[in-house]
């Protein structure tokens, strides 16, 4: 109970004061990441306590006055060496297996319903929705700049708000194609569990399936110049109906 309350305070789509744990997940990828994290923390706790216990007991029991005989010629023991080599190897396999499973599951973009193209610039993100065209073969295209501190409405998040948010329908498989125009950037959103570097001349894809409506914030995650901290990412997930209404408004101008 205590632990639950404690974690509730720590666990924090947007960063909150003293948020030390993950932000709330909004996609299957992020749930997988949290699960893997908890899984590995379990092994980590065991290792931490075992090693600490061994160190403390060694320090306590093998002081010069408690154990005055130095075993000069006792310098290897095959059995214990086998144990302390093979057992960590097994622990590493136990960690590696779920890790690789998650890695390949997250890499998979099987059958997306729409594509959002995100391009990093110094220092803003621009977006394209190439799947929706009007009669003139034009598609939605916009830039997404940070809202400066002086223009924030009261209550908005400093250094995280943008003028044009990315609108993605919830419960829809979306392929985000990520690239950059000038230097390397990185497109990241913690509560969706995505982070992919944006390279000029290369297209990286990330799969997104948002399972609840909400607003999710992220930041550029590869140092890209002086305003690296001022190119945030804001993704808003809405119902399909609202998405289509938004699309219509965008297309009709």
């Amino acid at each position: 109970m205590f632990l639950h309350n404690y974690i509730s305070k720590l666990q924090l789509d947007a960063p909150t004061p003293w948020g030390l744990f993950f932000q709330d997940s909004a996609s299957p990828q992020m749930e997988g990441i949290e699960e893997l994290h908890n899984n590995i923390m379990f092994y980590l706790a065991i290792i931490l306590f075992t090693v600490t216990w061994m160190m403390i007991s060694m320090i306590r029991n093998f002081l010069a006055n408690k154990s005055p005989i130095a075993h000069k010629y006792m310098n290897h023991g095959t059995l214990i060496e086998l144990i302390w080599t093979i057992s960590p190897a097994f622990i590493l396999i136990l960690i590696a297996f779920p890790s690789f499973k998650l890695l390949y599951l997250m890499d998979e973009v099987m059958d997306p319903s729409l594509v959002v193209y995100a391009e990093g610039h110094q220092w803003y993100w621009s977006y394209q929705y190439p799947d929706f065209t009007n009669e003139d073969d034009e598609f939605i295209e916009f830039d997404s700049y940070i809202v400066p501190e002086s223009d924030l409405e009261e209550g908005q998040f400093r250094m995280l708000e943008v003028d044009n948010r990315v609108i993605i329908p919830e419960l829809t498989h979306t392929r985000i194609v990520i690239s950059a125009a000038d230097v390397i950037h990185s497109y990241a959103c913690p509560s969706l569990g995505i982070k992919a570097d944006a390279y000029p001349g290369r297209l990286n894809q990330a799969s997104v399936y948002i399972n609840r409506p909400g607003t999710f914030f992220g930041q550029c995650s590869e140092i890209c110049g002086i305003l690296h901290s001022s190119m945030p990412i804001a993704i808003q997930s809405v119902s399909i109906k609202d998405f289509l209404l938004w699309l219509r408004e965008q297309m009709e101008g």
Partner: protein, 92 residues
């Protein structure tokens, strides 16, 4: 821009399933999709060069690269094709 418009309660909205062609391509299973975009662009223009603009099966390549490639890339390649320095022979 950005704000979600209010729905008109009197308007009858009909939501149809939507789905676009650029699904999974087993030749490009990785995160890097650069050549997925590129291959479809090349295939489309090879297809239309061989079969003519109105050959409908070519359209699938068009939809694929249209969906994957950044506009700036296809614009540059279009320019190269017109200038004759596109790095692939599209008629072979």
């Amino acid at each position: 821009m950005g704000a979600i418009p209010e729905a008109d309660p009197d308007e009858v909205l009909e939501t149809k399933p939507f789905k676009f062609v650029t699904g999974y391509d087993a030749r490009f299973p990785q995160q890097n999709q650069t050549k997925h975009c590129w291959q479809n662009y090349v295939d489309y223009y090879k297809c239309t060069t061989a079969k003519g603009e109105d050959f409908r099966p070519c359209k699938q390549f068009y939809h694929a690269f249209r969906s994957l490639c950044p506009k700036a890339w296809t614009d540059r390649w279009d320019g190269q094709r017109e200038a004759g320095n596109f790095p692939v022979h599209l008629d072979k």
